[in-house]
C-alpha cells in the first residue's frame, strides 16, 4: 500500500513517514504542493495525506487540481485549521477524511486503514481468503486459526494481494505498494518475498493460495487458476 505525504513541516513529515513505514506502508513524502501534485498525477497512491498550508501551492488547490485531472487517490487532509468551514470546504473539494493537528498517530494510521478498506470496498478490517485471515488493523495473519509471523515487507505484499483477492496484481504494482523507491528494488526481490510467503502460508500441507500468472504477476485465490485478471 503506497501513501503520499504532503507536509511542509520537516519534522512532522519525517515522523509520519517513519511511522507509516513501520506500519508496512510504502511512503513518498514531499514538502510543497506543486511537487505533491506531480506525484499524485504520475504515481498511483492508495492514500494521500495532505496539509493545507503548503508552500508554492495551497493544499486545497492541490486537491482541486488533482480531482479535476481524474486522480482518484483517497485524500486525508491533515491540518492545523480546525474551523468547520475549512473541513466542509476540504471535503467538498474531494477529500475523503479530515484530521486536525495535533493528532494521535494511531488515529492517523486507523484512518488510513479505513480509507484503504473503503477504497477496496471492504467493510471489515479483516481480509479473508479461504482459511487465511489478515487483520489490517493489528497486522495479524492467521491460517486455519494458526498465527503466522511475517516480516513487514512480506505482510505488505500479502495485504496488497488480499485487498485485490482474485485479481492479478503485477510485480510493478507490488513493488510500488511495498517499496519507498521501486527503482532501487532488485528484479527478483518480489519473487523471493512471494516464495517465502508461500512457504510460511502453506505449512502443515495446506493448499497454495498465492498463484503465479506468468508474465503478468500474482493472484491470491483459493483456486489454482486465477479467477480474473
Amino acid at each position: 500500500m503506497r501513501v503520499l505525504i504532503m507536509e511542509d513541516s520537516d519534522r512532522l513529515r519525517e515522523s509520519i513517514a517513519a511511522g507509516l513505514r513501520s506500519a508496512g506502508y510504502a511512503v513518498d513524502a514531499v514538502s510543497n504542493g506543486r511537487t505533491g501534485l506531480i506525484h499524485l498525477r504520475t504515481t498511483t497512491y492508495d492514500v494521500a495525506i495532505l496539509d493545507l498550508g503548503l508552500p508554492e501551492m495551497d493544499g486545497l488547490a492541490v486537491l482541486q487540481e488533482a480531482r479535476s485531472k481524474g486522480v482518484e487517490t483517497s485524500v486525508l487532509i491533515l491540518t492545523a485549521r480546525s474551523e468547520v468551514s475549512d473541513r466542509v470546504r476540504g471535503l467538498r473539494l474531494g477529500a475523503d477524511d479530515y484530521l486536525t493537528k495535533p493528532f494521535a498517530f494511531d488515529e492517523l494510521v486507523a484512518r488510513v486503514e479505513a480509507m484503504m478498506r473503503r477504497r477496496h470496498a471492504r467493510a471489515s478490517q479483516i481480509l479473508r481468503t479461504a482459511d487465511l485471515s489478515i487483520n489490517t488493523s493489528t497486522k495479524r495473519v492467521e491460517r486455519g486459526g494458526e498465527p503466522i509471523e511475517l516480516s513487514r515487507r512480506e505482510y505488505a505484499i500479502l495485504e496488497c494481494l488480499a485487498y485485490r483477492a482474485g485479481v492479478v496484481v503485477s510485480r510493478s504494482d507490488l513493488e510500488e505498494a511495498v517499496y519507498d523507491d521501486p527503482s532501487q528494488v532488485q528484479s527478483n526481490s518480489i519473487d523471493s518475498a512471494i516464495s517465502i510467503l508461500r512457504t510460511k502460508l502453506n505449512t502443515q500441507g495446506r493448499s497454495n493460495l498465492i498463484h503465479t500468472k506468468r508474465g503478468i504477476g500474482y493472484v491470491l485465490a483459493p483456486l489454482k487458476a486465477p479467477l480474473d485478471s
Partner: protein, 497 residues
Amino acid sequence: MFLRRSRPRSIRDRLIRSLTLLAAAACSLGAIGVAFSVYNYVNAGLLGQVIVDSALLGLMVEHDGKAYHFRYQPAAFETNFGIGSTDAYFQVWGPDGVVLAKSPSLGSRNLPLPPAPTFDPDFAPTAEELEIQEATLSAGESVLQGWIRWDPMRMPNEPPPTPELDRRVTVTVARDVSILWRSTLIAGAVAFAAVGLVLLGLRFVIVLAVDRGLQPLTNLSQEVARLDEKDFGGRFAVDIMPTETAPFAFAINSVLAKAEAALDRERRFSMSAAHELRTPIAEIRTAADVARRINSPEASALALASIVTSATLMEAVLSTLFRLAKRSGDIERDVIGPVQLSSLIDHALARHQARIAQQQITITRQGTSELIIMTEQAALSTIVTNLIDNAVEYTPSGGAIHVEFSQQAAAVMLAISNTPVSLSAQDVDRMGEPFWRKHQARGGGNHSGLGLALVKALIQSLEGTIEFRLKPPFTLHVIATLPHLTGGRVPPVSEGA
C-alpha cells in the same frame, strides 16, 4: 453607615410629573383668572347699578321750598329697594344730617352717613364723580355704597331759591356685596372643578404625548439592552433616527465598530496563535508516538532530537508572543541610550555572511558611521536584526539588498530595500500583521510570522513609524523612522547593542 439613595425616576415619569404639575399650575391660574373675571364682572355690575341708582334717586328728589318730595318710580324702586329686596338700599339725608328717606329694604337699619363728596354734580353723576366705598350696615352687612350731594329739582310752584338756604341733600345707595363674593366663590369652585376634570384628561394626553415623544429614546434603549456582549456585529440605523437620538446611536455604532474590530483582532490573534502552536505540538506528539511504535534506540534518538527542535520553536513563538503583548500594552521598556546604527547593521549582516556569499546577494549601504540615535537599545537591536533577517531570507540568489540610514530633523530614518521573489500590493498591506506569511506555510523554516509584527509594535512603542512600499520590479522598501528618545539611564555608546 449606609446612605439611602432613592432609585432615580425614569425620564418618562419625570416628564409626566413635570408636565402634569405645569398643566395643573396653568389650569389653576386659569381658574383663578376665571374667578377674578367673575369678581370684576359682578363688581362692575354692582358699581354700575350703584351709579345708575344714585343718579336716578337724585333726580327723583324734589324740593318745594319748604320740604323735600320724592317721586318714586315704583317699577324701578320698589323692585330694587322695596321691602322684598334684600340687596339694594338707599338713604337720603338733608343738609342738616336728618334722614329724609330710606328704602324699605333697610328696615330699621341705616346706611352710614358718608363724608361730604368731592363733587357736586349738576346732573347725573359719572363714575368719577360718584363717591364709592365699602361700608357696613348698622346690622353688620357689607355693602358697596355710593353717594352724591345733590341739589334737588324745584317743584313747579316753588318760589325762587333763597340764597342762604342750602337745600343740598346727600343721596346714598348701596348694594349688598355678598353676591360679589358668592359669585366669585361659585365661579372659582366651578373653575377649579373644571380644572380637576381637565387635568384628568390632560394627564391622559400628557402620558400619550410623552410616550410618543420618548418612543425613539425607548427604542434606542431597548436596542442597546439587546446588544450581545459577544457579538458586536449589529448597528443602529442612524439614518432613520430623530436628530436628538442620532448622535447617541452614531457614538454607539462607533464604539461597536471599534469593539468588533478589537474582538476580531483578538479572535484572529488567538486563532493564529493556536494554529501556530498546533504544528509543533503535532510534531512532538507524532515523534513520540512513532518512536514508541518503532521502539528502537535509533528511532527514539531521532524522535528526541525532533521533539527538542519543536519545543525550541514553540518556546520562540511563545517568547515572541509575550514580548509582542508586552510591547503592544506598553508594559515592557528597555534602557534608553545612544546606539551607533551602523554597528548594529554590521552586526545583523554578519550573522548572514555565509548565506549572502552563497546566494551571491549584493549588499549596498549608505549612511555615516557617526550617526548615533538615542533610543531603547535592545528594542532597536531587535528591529534591525529582524529587518535584516527578513531581507536576507527572502532575497533570491543574485538579488540585492540596500541599507540606508540618515538623520532627519529630530528622527533617524532607516530604509532597507531588497528584491523579494514575489509580493503583491495586498501582501504589502498585510505585512506587520501577526502570523501573516506570504505562504501560510513554514517551508521547512522556523518562521512564525511574528517577526515583522514585533518590529512594528516596537517601532510604534518608540513613537516611530514603519512603512512598507512595493516598487517595480518587485523591490520591497521598508522605511522606519525613529525619533530620538530622552530620559532613562544613559549608558555608554553601545556597539551592536
